[in-house]
Symmetry: none
Subunit: 133 residues, 4 copies
Protein backbone atom coordinates (compact mmCIF):
# COMPACT_ATOMS: atom_id res chain seq x y z
CA UNK A 1 0.00 0.00 0.00
CA UNK A 2 1.32 3.34 -1.01
CA UNK A 3 0.46 7.00 -0.50
CA UNK A 4 -1.12 8.69 -3.53
CA UNK A 5 -0.07 12.04 -4.96
CA UNK A 6 -3.45 13.47 -3.93
CA UNK A 7 -2.86 12.41 -0.34
CA UNK A 8 0.65 13.83 -0.42
CA UNK A 9 -0.60 17.14 -1.80
CA UNK A 10 -3.28 17.34 0.87
CA UNK A 11 -0.70 16.71 3.56
CA UNK A 12 1.51 19.48 2.18
CA UNK A 13 -1.42 21.87 1.91
CA UNK A 14 -2.43 21.29 5.53
CA UNK A 15 1.17 21.57 6.67
CA UNK A 16 1.55 24.92 4.90
CA UNK A 17 -1.66 26.19 6.52
CA UNK A 18 -0.18 25.32 9.91
CA UNK A 19 3.09 27.02 8.99
CA UNK A 20 1.18 30.18 8.03
CA UNK A 21 -0.64 30.04 11.36
CA UNK A 22 2.71 29.81 13.17
CA UNK A 23 4.21 32.53 10.98
CA UNK A 24 7.04 30.33 9.72
CA UNK A 25 8.31 29.28 6.29
CA UNK A 26 8.83 25.61 5.68
CA UNK A 27 10.18 23.02 3.29
CA UNK A 28 7.84 20.03 3.21
CA UNK A 29 8.60 16.66 1.65
CA UNK A 30 6.49 13.51 1.34
CA UNK A 31 7.94 10.10 0.46
CA UNK A 32 6.10 6.89 -0.37
CA UNK A 33 6.31 3.47 1.30
CA UNK A 34 9.55 2.78 -0.59
CA UNK A 35 11.07 6.04 0.74
CA UNK A 36 10.98 7.60 -2.74
CA UNK A 37 10.02 11.28 -3.09
CA UNK A 38 6.35 11.79 -3.96
CA UNK A 39 5.78 15.52 -3.50
CA UNK A 40 7.69 18.55 -2.23
CA UNK A 41 7.07 22.26 -1.67
CA UNK A 42 9.29 25.08 -0.41
CA UNK A 43 7.40 28.08 0.86
CA UNK A 44 8.64 31.41 -0.52
CA UNK A 45 11.62 32.55 1.49
CA UNK A 46 12.10 29.28 3.36
CA UNK A 47 15.68 28.15 4.10
CA UNK A 48 17.49 26.67 1.13
CA UNK A 49 19.38 24.25 3.36
CA UNK A 50 16.09 22.78 4.48
CA UNK A 51 15.28 21.35 1.05
CA UNK A 52 17.63 18.46 1.70
CA UNK A 53 16.84 18.26 5.40
CA UNK A 54 13.09 17.93 4.85
CA UNK A 55 13.64 15.17 2.30
CA UNK A 56 16.09 13.37 4.60
CA UNK A 57 13.66 13.67 7.52
CA UNK A 58 10.87 12.08 5.50
CA UNK A 59 13.19 9.30 4.32
CA UNK A 60 14.55 8.72 7.83
CA UNK A 61 11.03 8.43 9.28
CA UNK A 62 10.16 5.77 6.70
CA UNK A 63 13.52 4.04 6.95
CA UNK A 64 12.85 3.21 10.60
CA UNK A 65 9.07 3.64 10.85
CA UNK A 66 9.30 6.11 13.70
CA UNK A 67 9.48 9.84 14.33
CA UNK A 68 12.92 11.22 13.50
CA UNK A 69 13.30 12.70 16.97
CA UNK A 70 13.09 9.26 18.57
CA UNK A 71 16.14 8.18 16.61
CA UNK A 72 17.95 11.34 17.65
CA UNK A 73 17.37 10.43 21.29
CA UNK A 74 19.33 7.23 20.69
CA UNK A 75 22.06 8.60 18.43
CA UNK A 76 23.64 10.99 20.93
CA UNK A 77 27.20 10.49 22.15
CA UNK A 78 27.10 7.44 24.40
CA UNK A 79 23.71 6.41 23.01
CA UNK A 80 23.03 3.03 21.46
CA UNK A 81 22.75 4.39 17.92
CA UNK A 82 25.59 6.94 18.07
CA UNK A 83 26.41 8.30 14.62
CA UNK A 84 23.72 6.29 12.80
CA UNK A 85 23.44 9.46 10.68
CA UNK A 86 26.36 8.22 8.58
CA UNK A 87 24.19 5.54 7.00
CA UNK A 88 21.90 5.78 3.99
CA UNK A 89 23.71 8.75 2.47
CA UNK A 90 22.84 10.83 5.51
CA UNK A 91 19.99 10.71 7.99
CA UNK A 92 18.40 13.60 9.86
CA UNK A 93 17.47 12.51 13.37
CA UNK A 94 15.98 15.56 15.03
CA UNK A 95 12.21 16.16 15.06
CA UNK A 96 10.21 16.98 11.95
CA UNK A 97 9.86 13.60 10.25
CA UNK A 98 6.82 11.39 10.92
CA UNK A 99 5.60 8.16 9.27
CA UNK A 100 2.21 8.35 7.52
CA UNK A 101 -0.22 5.51 8.25
CA UNK A 102 -3.32 4.38 6.41
CA UNK A 103 -6.52 3.91 8.43
CA UNK A 104 -5.51 0.25 8.78
CA UNK A 105 -2.32 1.29 10.57
CA UNK A 106 -0.07 0.26 7.68
CA UNK A 107 2.70 2.74 6.91
CA UNK A 108 2.21 4.19 3.44
CA UNK A 109 4.90 6.90 3.47
CA UNK A 110 6.31 9.70 5.59
CA UNK A 111 6.44 13.48 5.84
CA UNK A 112 9.46 15.63 6.61
CA UNK A 113 9.39 19.32 7.55
CA UNK A 114 12.27 21.74 7.99
CA UNK A 115 12.50 25.51 8.28
CA UNK A 116 12.08 26.63 11.85
CA UNK A 117 12.61 25.26 15.37
CA UNK A 118 12.31 21.51 15.68
CA UNK A 119 9.15 22.07 17.72
CA UNK A 120 7.61 24.04 14.87
CA UNK A 121 8.88 21.54 12.32
CA UNK A 122 7.22 18.69 14.22
CA UNK A 123 3.96 20.60 14.71
CA UNK A 124 3.76 21.37 11.01
CA UNK A 125 4.51 17.74 10.11
CA UNK A 126 1.75 16.60 12.46
CA UNK A 127 -0.72 18.99 10.85
CA UNK A 128 0.14 17.44 7.52
CA UNK A 129 -0.39 13.94 8.85
CA UNK A 130 -3.78 14.79 10.35
CA UNK A 131 -5.12 15.95 7.01
CA UNK A 132 -4.90 12.50 5.50
CA UNK A 133 -5.49 10.06 8.33
CA UNK B 1 13.84 37.85 -9.19
CA UNK B 2 12.66 34.41 -8.30
CA UNK B 3 9.82 32.05 -9.10
CA UNK B 4 7.18 31.82 -6.37
CA UNK B 5 5.76 28.60 -4.98
CA UNK B 6 2.40 29.56 -6.47
CA UNK B 7 3.95 29.86 -9.91
CA UNK B 8 5.76 26.57 -9.48
CA UNK B 9 2.57 24.83 -8.42
CA UNK B 10 0.72 26.27 -11.41
CA UNK B 11 3.43 25.04 -13.73
CA UNK B 12 3.22 21.55 -12.23
CA UNK B 13 -0.57 21.57 -12.46
CA UNK B 14 -0.51 22.53 -16.14
CA UNK B 15 2.22 20.00 -16.82
CA UNK B 16 0.19 17.24 -15.20
CA UNK B 17 -2.85 18.22 -17.27
CA UNK B 18 -0.73 17.86 -20.41
CA UNK B 19 0.59 14.52 -19.19
CA UNK B 20 -2.96 13.30 -18.64
CA UNK B 21 -3.83 14.44 -22.17
CA UNK B 22 -0.87 12.47 -23.54
CA UNK B 23 -1.73 9.48 -21.37
CA UNK B 24 1.65 9.44 -19.63
CA UNK B 25 2.82 9.54 -16.00
CA UNK B 26 5.43 12.11 -15.15
CA UNK B 27 7.79 13.32 -12.47
CA UNK B 28 7.85 17.12 -12.51
CA UNK B 29 10.35 19.33 -10.69
CA UNK B 30 10.65 23.11 -10.48
CA UNK B 31 13.78 24.88 -9.25
CA UNK B 32 14.24 28.56 -8.51
CA UNK B 33 16.79 31.04 -9.87
CA UNK B 34 19.39 29.58 -7.49
CA UNK B 35 18.76 26.08 -8.93
CA UNK B 36 17.27 24.97 -5.61
CA UNK B 37 14.20 22.71 -5.56
CA UNK B 38 10.96 24.68 -5.16
CA UNK B 39 8.24 22.14 -5.89
CA UNK B 40 7.98 18.53 -7.05
CA UNK B 41 5.26 16.02 -7.84
CA UNK B 42 5.38 12.37 -8.96
CA UNK B 43 2.17 11.22 -10.63
CA UNK B 44 0.89 7.89 -9.27
CA UNK B 45 2.70 5.08 -11.01
CA UNK B 46 5.35 7.27 -12.64
CA UNK B 47 8.88 5.84 -12.91
CA UNK B 48 10.85 5.92 -9.66
CA UNK B 49 14.09 6.58 -11.52
CA UNK B 50 12.62 9.76 -12.91
CA UNK B 51 12.46 11.46 -9.52
CA UNK B 52 16.15 12.19 -9.72
CA UNK B 53 16.15 12.76 -13.48
CA UNK B 54 13.42 15.39 -13.38
CA UNK B 55 15.22 17.28 -10.63
CA UNK B 56 18.54 17.02 -12.48
CA UNK B 57 16.90 18.26 -15.70
CA UNK B 58 15.49 21.31 -13.96
CA UNK B 59 18.82 22.05 -12.31
CA UNK B 60 20.75 21.52 -15.55
CA UNK B 61 18.44 23.92 -17.43
CA UNK B 62 19.05 26.63 -14.82
CA UNK B 63 22.76 25.87 -14.46
CA UNK B 64 23.29 26.82 -18.11
CA UNK B 65 20.14 28.84 -18.87
CA UNK B 66 19.19 26.72 -21.84
CA UNK B 67 17.07 23.71 -22.70
CA UNK B 68 18.71 20.49 -21.52
CA UNK B 69 18.59 19.02 -25.03
CA UNK B 70 20.82 21.83 -26.34
CA UNK B 71 23.53 20.83 -23.90
CA UNK B 72 23.14 17.21 -24.96
CA UNK B 73 23.90 18.23 -28.52
CA UNK B 74 27.27 19.53 -27.35
CA UNK B 75 28.14 16.75 -24.90
CA UNK B 76 28.34 13.91 -27.43
CA UNK B 77 31.64 12.13 -28.14
CA UNK B 78 33.81 14.59 -30.05
CA UNK B 79 31.58 17.49 -28.99
CA UNK B 80 32.83 20.61 -27.26
CA UNK B 81 31.19 19.71 -23.93
CA UNK B 82 31.91 16.00 -24.06
CA UNK B 83 30.87 14.31 -20.79
CA UNK B 84 29.88 17.53 -19.05
CA UNK B 85 27.40 15.24 -17.25
CA UNK B 86 30.14 14.41 -14.75
CA UNK B 87 29.92 17.86 -13.20
CA UNK B 88 27.58 19.15 -10.51
CA UNK B 89 26.91 15.72 -9.04
CA UNK B 90 25.39 14.64 -12.34
CA UNK B 91 23.65 16.52 -15.13
CA UNK B 92 20.92 15.24 -17.42
CA UNK B 93 21.37 16.64 -20.90
CA UNK B 94 18.54 15.17 -22.96
CA UNK B 95 15.26 17.05 -23.51
CA UNK B 96 12.78 17.72 -20.71
CA UNK B 97 14.40 20.63 -18.85
CA UNK B 98 13.56 24.24 -19.75
CA UNK B 99 14.42 27.57 -18.09
CA UNK B 100 11.46 29.61 -16.81
CA UNK B 101 11.43 33.31 -17.70
CA UNK B 102 9.51 36.20 -16.23
CA UNK B 103 7.60 38.49 -18.62
CA UNK B 104 10.73 40.67 -18.68
CA UNK B 105 12.78 37.80 -20.04
CA UNK B 106 14.73 37.33 -16.85
CA UNK B 107 15.23 33.70 -15.87
CA UNK B 108 13.50 32.98 -12.57
CA UNK B 109 13.85 29.20 -12.43
CA UNK B 110 13.49 26.04 -14.49
CA UNK B 111 11.26 23.03 -14.92
CA UNK B 112 12.32 19.41 -15.44
CA UNK B 113 10.07 16.58 -16.57
CA UNK B 114 10.81 12.84 -16.81
CA UNK B 115 8.64 9.78 -17.30
CA UNK B 116 8.14 9.07 -20.99
CA UNK B 117 9.91 9.70 -24.30
CA UNK B 118 12.05 12.80 -24.43
CA UNK B 119 9.54 14.30 -26.87
CA UNK B 120 6.73 13.82 -24.35
CA UNK B 121 8.93 15.02 -21.51
CA UNK B 122 9.71 18.21 -23.41
CA UNK B 123 6.06 18.79 -24.41
CA UNK B 124 4.93 18.43 -20.81
CA UNK B 125 7.67 20.80 -19.63
CA UNK B 126 6.58 23.35 -22.22
CA UNK B 127 2.97 23.09 -21.07
CA UNK B 128 4.17 23.85 -17.57
CA UNK B 129 6.14 26.87 -18.75
CA UNK B 130 3.20 28.29 -20.71
CA UNK B 131 0.99 28.34 -17.65
CA UNK B 132 3.15 30.91 -15.93
CA UNK B 133 4.60 33.09 -18.65
CA UNK C 1 2.28 -5.15 -3.76
CA UNK C 2 5.78 -6.21 -2.95
CA UNK C 3 8.01 -9.20 -3.51
CA UNK C 4 8.55 -11.40 -0.44
CA UNK C 5 11.90 -12.66 0.80
CA UNK C 6 10.80 -16.21 -0.04
CA UNK C 7 10.10 -15.20 -3.63
CA UNK C 8 13.42 -13.39 -3.83
CA UNK C 9 15.29 -16.41 -2.47
CA UNK C 10 13.57 -18.70 -4.96
CA UNK C 11 14.53 -16.39 -7.80
CA UNK C 12 18.16 -16.38 -6.66
CA UNK C 13 18.17 -20.16 -6.27
CA UNK C 14 16.83 -20.69 -9.78
CA UNK C 15 19.24 -18.12 -11.18
CA UNK C 16 22.19 -19.89 -9.56
CA UNK C 17 21.03 -23.22 -10.98
CA UNK C 18 21.05 -21.65 -14.45
CA UNK C 19 24.49 -20.17 -13.80
CA UNK C 20 25.79 -23.59 -12.82
CA UNK C 21 24.32 -25.02 -16.01
CA UNK C 22 26.11 -22.33 -18.04
CA UNK C 23 29.31 -22.83 -16.05
CA UNK C 24 29.50 -19.21 -14.92
CA UNK C 25 29.75 -17.47 -11.55
CA UNK C 26 27.26 -14.72 -10.88
CA UNK C 27 26.27 -11.95 -8.50
CA UNK C 28 22.50 -11.87 -8.16
CA UNK C 29 20.46 -9.09 -6.53
CA UNK C 30 16.73 -8.72 -5.98
CA UNK C 31 15.06 -5.41 -5.08
CA UNK C 32 11.47 -4.79 -4.03
CA UNK C 33 8.86 -2.51 -5.60
CA UNK C 34 10.49 0.49 -3.93
CA UNK C 35 13.87 -0.44 -5.46
CA UNK C 36 15.27 -1.38 -2.04
CA UNK C 37 17.54 -4.44 -1.73
CA UNK C 38 15.68 -7.57 -0.63
CA UNK C 39 18.18 -10.38 -1.18
CA UNK C 40 21.63 -10.88 -2.66
CA UNK C 41 24.07 -13.72 -3.30
CA UNK C 42 27.56 -13.81 -4.81
CA UNK C 43 28.61 -17.24 -6.05
CA UNK C 44 32.06 -18.34 -4.87
CA UNK C 45 34.68 -16.81 -7.13
CA UNK C 46 32.30 -14.43 -8.92
CA UNK C 47 33.65 -10.97 -9.88
CA UNK C 48 33.85 -8.54 -6.98
CA UNK C 49 33.00 -5.62 -9.26
CA UNK C 50 29.73 -7.27 -10.09
CA UNK C 51 28.35 -6.88 -6.57
CA UNK C 52 27.55 -3.25 -7.27
CA UNK C 53 26.63 -3.87 -10.92
CA UNK C 54 24.06 -6.53 -10.09
CA UNK C 55 22.45 -4.28 -7.49
CA UNK C 56 22.45 -1.32 -9.89
CA UNK C 57 20.94 -3.48 -12.66
CA UNK C 58 18.09 -4.56 -10.38
CA UNK C 59 17.49 -0.98 -9.28
CA UNK C 60 17.66 0.33 -12.85
CA UNK C 61 15.11 -2.26 -14.04
CA UNK C 62 12.68 -1.19 -11.32
CA UNK C 63 13.44 2.52 -11.75
CA UNK C 64 12.14 2.40 -15.32
CA UNK C 65 10.07 -0.80 -15.32
CA UNK C 66 11.92 -2.29 -18.26
CA UNK C 67 14.88 -4.53 -19.02
CA UNK C 68 18.14 -2.71 -18.47
CA UNK C 69 19.30 -3.47 -22.03
CA UNK C 70 16.39 -1.51 -23.47
CA UNK C 71 17.62 1.60 -21.70
CA UNK C 72 21.13 0.97 -22.99
CA UNK C 73 19.81 0.98 -26.53
CA UNK C 74 18.61 4.55 -25.96
CA UNK C 75 21.55 5.85 -23.95
CA UNK C 76 24.23 5.48 -26.63
CA UNK C 77 26.00 8.52 -28.08
CA UNK C 78 23.42 10.29 -30.22
CA UNK C 79 20.58 8.37 -28.55
CA UNK C 80 17.65 10.03 -26.86
CA UNK C 81 18.76 9.08 -23.35
CA UNK C 82 22.51 9.64 -23.77
CA UNK C 83 24.33 9.53 -20.44
CA UNK C 84 21.20 8.78 -18.37
CA UNK C 85 23.63 6.64 -16.34
CA UNK C 86 24.66 9.75 -14.42
CA UNK C 87 21.32 9.82 -12.60
CA UNK C 88 20.28 8.00 -9.44
CA UNK C 89 23.83 7.58 -8.15
CA UNK C 90 24.67 5.49 -11.18
CA UNK C 91 22.61 3.27 -13.45
CA UNK C 92 23.71 0.16 -15.32
CA UNK C 93 22.04 0.00 -18.71
CA UNK C 94 23.33 -3.14 -20.37
CA UNK C 95 21.43 -6.45 -20.15
CA UNK C 96 21.03 -8.40 -16.93
CA UNK C 97 18.30 -6.47 -15.11
CA UNK C 98 14.62 -7.44 -15.47
CA UNK C 99 11.47 -6.29 -13.63
CA UNK C 100 9.60 -8.95 -11.66
CA UNK C 101 5.84 -9.08 -12.15
CA UNK C 102 3.12 -10.70 -10.06
CA UNK C 103 0.61 -12.93 -11.83
CA UNK C 104 -1.60 -9.85 -12.14
CA UNK C 105 1.09 -8.11 -14.17
CA UNK C 106 1.91 -5.62 -11.42
CA UNK C 107 5.61 -5.01 -10.93
CA UNK C 108 6.68 -6.19 -7.47
CA UNK C 109 10.45 -5.85 -7.78
CA UNK C 110 13.36 -6.59 -10.08
CA UNK C 111 16.35 -8.90 -10.45
CA UNK C 112 19.87 -7.94 -11.51
CA UNK C 113 22.61 -10.37 -12.55
CA UNK C 114 26.28 -9.68 -13.28
CA UNK C 115 29.32 -11.90 -13.71
CA UNK C 116 29.67 -13.06 -17.29
CA UNK C 117 28.70 -11.89 -20.79
CA UNK C 118 25.59 -9.76 -20.94
CA UNK C 119 23.88 -12.62 -22.78
CA UNK C 120 24.63 -14.97 -19.90
CA UNK C 121 23.68 -12.32 -17.36
CA UNK C 122 20.30 -11.86 -19.04
CA UNK C 123 19.68 -15.61 -19.35
CA UNK C 124 20.40 -16.13 -15.67
CA UNK C 125 18.14 -13.22 -14.72
CA UNK C 126 15.35 -14.71 -16.85
CA UNK C 127 15.75 -18.08 -15.14
CA UNK C 128 15.33 -16.32 -11.81
CA UNK C 129 12.19 -14.55 -13.00
CA UNK C 130 10.61 -17.76 -14.30
CA UNK C 131 10.91 -19.45 -10.92
CA UNK C 132 8.49 -17.03 -9.30
CA UNK C 133 6.03 -16.05 -12.00
CA UNK D 1 40.93 -18.08 3.19
CA UNK D 2 37.46 -16.86 2.50
CA UNK D 3 33.90 -17.52 3.58
CA UNK D 4 31.87 -19.50 1.05
CA UNK D 5 28.39 -18.62 -0.13
CA UNK D 6 27.12 -21.78 1.55
CA UNK D 7 28.57 -20.67 4.87
CA UNK D 8 27.13 -17.19 4.41
CA UNK D 9 23.69 -18.61 3.64
CA UNK D 10 23.86 -20.85 6.71
CA UNK D 11 24.79 -17.88 8.86
CA UNK D 12 21.84 -15.89 7.50
CA UNK D 13 19.47 -18.82 7.99
CA UNK D 14 20.52 -19.25 11.61
CA UNK D 15 20.34 -15.52 12.20
CA UNK D 16 16.80 -15.39 10.82
CA UNK D 17 15.79 -18.31 13.06
CA UNK D 18 17.07 -16.35 16.05
CA UNK D 19 15.23 -13.24 14.85
CA UNK D 20 12.00 -15.24 14.61
CA UNK D 21 12.59 -16.53 18.14
CA UNK D 22 13.02 -12.95 19.37
CA UNK D 23 10.01 -11.77 17.34
CA UNK D 24 11.99 -9.18 15.39
CA UNK D 25 12.57 -8.50 11.69
CA UNK D 26 16.13 -8.11 10.58
CA UNK D 27 18.38 -7.14 7.70
CA UNK D 28 21.35 -9.49 7.62
CA UNK D 29 24.50 -9.02 5.56
CA UNK D 30 27.60 -11.18 5.20
CA UNK D 31 30.86 -9.93 3.70
CA UNK D 32 33.96 -11.92 2.80
CA UNK D 33 37.57 -11.48 3.89
CA UNK D 34 37.90 -8.61 1.39
CA UNK D 35 34.90 -6.83 2.99
CA UNK D 36 32.87 -7.39 -0.18
CA UNK D 37 29.18 -8.35 0.07
CA UNK D 38 28.65 -12.11 -0.17
CA UNK D 39 25.00 -12.58 0.81
CA UNK D 40 22.14 -10.48 2.11
CA UNK D 41 18.53 -10.95 3.18
CA UNK D 42 15.87 -8.52 4.39
CA UNK D 43 13.07 -10.21 6.31
CA UNK D 44 9.60 -9.16 5.17
CA UNK D 45 8.68 -5.91 6.87
CA UNK D 46 12.16 -5.19 8.25
CA UNK D 47 13.31 -1.56 8.30
CA UNK D 48 14.37 -0.19 4.93
CA UNK D 49 17.04 1.97 6.55
CA UNK D 50 18.69 -1.14 7.93
CA UNK D 51 19.66 -2.46 4.51
CA UNK D 52 22.56 -0.05 4.42
CA UNK D 53 23.27 -0.28 8.15
CA UNK D 54 23.57 -4.08 8.16
CA UNK D 55 25.99 -3.95 5.22
CA UNK D 56 28.01 -1.18 6.85
CA UNK D 57 28.16 -3.11 10.13
CA UNK D 58 29.51 -6.19 8.38
CA UNK D 59 32.06 -4.13 6.47
CA UNK D 60 33.08 -2.21 9.59
CA UNK D 61 33.62 -5.44 11.54
CA UNK D 62 35.91 -6.77 8.82
CA UNK D 63 37.64 -3.44 8.23
CA UNK D 64 38.96 -3.51 11.80
CA UNK D 65 38.59 -7.20 12.72
CA UNK D 66 36.56 -6.48 15.80
CA UNK D 67 32.95 -6.19 16.90
CA UNK D 68 31.42 -2.93 15.73
CA UNK D 69 30.46 -1.96 19.27
CA UNK D 70 34.11 -1.98 20.34
CA UNK D 71 34.89 0.66 17.76
CA UNK D 72 31.92 2.69 18.95
CA UNK D 73 33.43 2.76 22.42
CA UNK D 74 36.49 4.50 20.98
CA UNK D 75 34.69 6.85 18.56
CA UNK D 76 32.82 8.88 21.17
CA UNK D 77 33.55 12.57 21.72
CA UNK D 78 36.96 12.76 23.38
CA UNK D 79 37.73 9.17 22.38
CA UNK D 80 40.81 8.11 20.48
CA UNK D 81 38.86 7.30 17.29
CA UNK D 82 36.43 10.21 17.49
CA UNK D 83 34.25 10.36 14.36
CA UNK D 84 36.00 7.50 12.59
CA UNK D 85 32.54 6.96 11.04
CA UNK D 86 33.45 9.54 8.38
CA UNK D 87 35.86 7.14 6.74
CA UNK D 88 35.19 4.41 4.18
CA UNK D 89 32.01 6.02 2.88
CA UNK D 90 30.46 5.64 6.30
CA UNK D 91 31.01 3.21 9.13
CA UNK D 92 28.45 1.97 11.66
CA UNK D 93 30.07 1.53 15.05
CA UNK D 94 27.31 0.35 17.35
CA UNK D 95 26.72 -3.36 18.05
CA UNK D 96 25.49 -5.80 15.41
CA UNK D 97 28.63 -6.42 13.37
CA UNK D 98 30.96 -9.35 14.21
CA UNK D 99 33.96 -10.86 12.38
CA UNK D 100 33.58 -14.46 11.23
CA UNK D 101 36.52 -16.80 12.01
CA UNK D 102 37.43 -20.16 10.58
CA UNK D 103 38.16 -23.00 13.01
CA UNK D 104 41.81 -21.97 12.81
CA UNK D 105 40.98 -18.51 14.11
CA UNK D 106 41.62 -16.83 10.80
CA UNK D 107 39.06 -14.17 9.91
CA UNK D 108 37.18 -15.17 6.76
CA UNK D 109 34.47 -12.50 6.71
CA UNK D 110 31.94 -10.71 8.89
CA UNK D 111 28.22 -10.52 9.60
CA UNK D 112 26.14 -7.38 10.14
CA UNK D 113 22.61 -7.30 11.53
CA UNK D 114 20.20 -4.36 11.84
CA UNK D 115 16.51 -4.08 12.57
CA UNK D 116 15.89 -3.90 16.32
CA UNK D 117 17.71 -2.84 19.48
CA UNK D 118 21.48 -3.13 19.35
CA UNK D 119 21.22 -5.94 21.91
CA UNK D 120 18.91 -7.89 19.60
CA UNK D 121 21.03 -7.04 16.58
CA UNK D 122 24.13 -8.40 18.32
CA UNK D 123 22.34 -11.54 19.55
CA UNK D 124 21.09 -12.31 16.05
CA UNK D 125 24.57 -11.72 14.59
CA UNK D 126 26.03 -14.09 17.18
CA UNK D 127 23.48 -16.77 16.28
CA UNK D 128 24.58 -16.43 12.68
CA UNK D 129 28.24 -16.79 13.63
CA UNK D 130 27.63 -19.90 15.74
CA UNK D 131 26.06 -21.72 12.81
CA UNK D 132 29.30 -21.76 10.87
CA UNK D 133 32.09 -21.96 13.43
Amino acid sequence: MNITLDQAKNAIKAAMAKADELGVKMNIAVVDSGANLTAFARMDGAWLGSVDISIKKARTARFFDMNTGEIGNLSQPGGSLYNIEHSNNGLITFPGGIPIRAGSGEIIGAIGVSGSTVEDDHAVAEAGIKAIS
